[in-house]
Symmetry: C2
């Protein structure tokens, strides 16, 4: 059994969500069957989107500090339950020599496997994720089109995400469903819940949608890696 | 903000429960307001009750390994979301010089504060917790009486706990409620959900009971310590 290090706290509820999904995906009859996880719930990592939009501190030194803390404590692979933080994944890979399980890669792989006919992908993500093109590049490389969205859509998704981060997910449900409806109307074959706060709203969907939950795809990769 | 180290995985769902309760108890409007937690979800720690009953490996070296891993990674205080593991707390305190927040102490303190008139306490806990007298001693020192229970009750509570650990909490609900009923019938003024799997069943209570949730009392201590 390998030890998985989780750079967490971005936000804390999203880290709980990943932790819970790893447990649920592990075949286990007793405590000892479960995965050994080292979770650094470090919410003081500066806001990723604020930095990418030029209005906040650089989170990279904090991400690196967390990665090194986990490595020193014995982690044998690393991951981050934060899509936006994947902007920094190659820089982290250069500084820390552990395998790094990417939530972007696991998500794109899942789309190709579960929805092989899909072409147009709708993305619910932070401005940091959207404007830095993290998903866009990976989807393009996989032959998939990322639907363009307008300014008001991007702002509405940010409002949804930051309301969840503020601990009031129920207040975000209406606007979340409206954003989903707009992506469907624009022709999305599959939607990516592309910020780790978004899956927390999936139980409140008011329609049938082809959704891929990146946190769930990351959890599957973690279980597979941990169990060798 | 101080870093809290959590010796976890006993079981993993109980660790998620503590993590979630720490988040919910923290006044926060954004990620950065939350507590920095280092969670060692280490389910390979041998079963505490099996050892205390003389039928399993000694968990102490594993608990100590986890405590030292967290200390080395920067934890400034330690805790364990596992009541039975508190059998080892004094031995851990002698080997690791960090403050150790006890779930037993936080629970007894809560009973005295919230139910000052209570005298008879009913304990839902593992055989390891019950027979090693961890709660009994702390309750006696606080002037409280721990209700004695018979063999069939102890076995039923073990069945409840290990069914939850096996990931099938819904199968444990009927027997759990029956155990609660028997403690009430025996005259309990307050019940302690004295194994960290038990609070996972509290949403399924079929009656009104004065329950103290040790995980919640520990979460409050963590938030207070972390925020100084």
């Amino acid at each position: 059994m390998k030890i998985i290090g989780i750079i967490g706290g971005m936000g804390p509820s999203a880290t709980v969500d990943l932790f819970q999904k790893v447990i649920e995906l592990t075949p286990a009859e007793r405590d000892q069957d479960h995965c050994h996880l080292l979770i650094d719930n470090y919410p003081q990592i500066p806001d990723r989107t604020a930095f990418l939009l030029g209005t906040g501190d650089d989170p990279f030194p904090f991400l690196l500090e967390s990665a090194r803390r986990l490595e020193k404590a014995g982690a044998e692979a690393l991951c981050m339950p934060c899509n936006t933080a994947h902007y920094f994944i190659e820089d982290l890979r250069m500084k820390v020599r552990l395998p790094f399980i990417s939530i972007i890669d696991s998500t794109v792989e899942r789309i190709k496997t579960v929805f092989p006919m899909a072409r147009k992908i709708g993305l619910l993500a932070t401005r940091g994720t959207t404007e830095s093109g993290i998903y866009h590049r990976a989807l393009t490389a996989a032959g998939l089109e990322t639907l363009q969205t307008d300014e008001s859509f991007k702002q509405d998704v940010m409002d949804v995400i930051y309301t969840v981060k503020a601990g009031r997910p129920e207040e975000a449900v209406g606007l979340f469903n409206d954003c989903v409806r707009r992506l469907q109307a624009a022709g999305a074959d599959v939607l990516i819940a592309g910020c780790t706060e978004i899956p927390l709203l999936l139980p409140h969907l008011d329609r049938s949608v082809n959704f891929v939950d990146p946190t769930l795809t990351l959890a599957e990769k973690i279980v597979a890696f941990a169990r060798g």
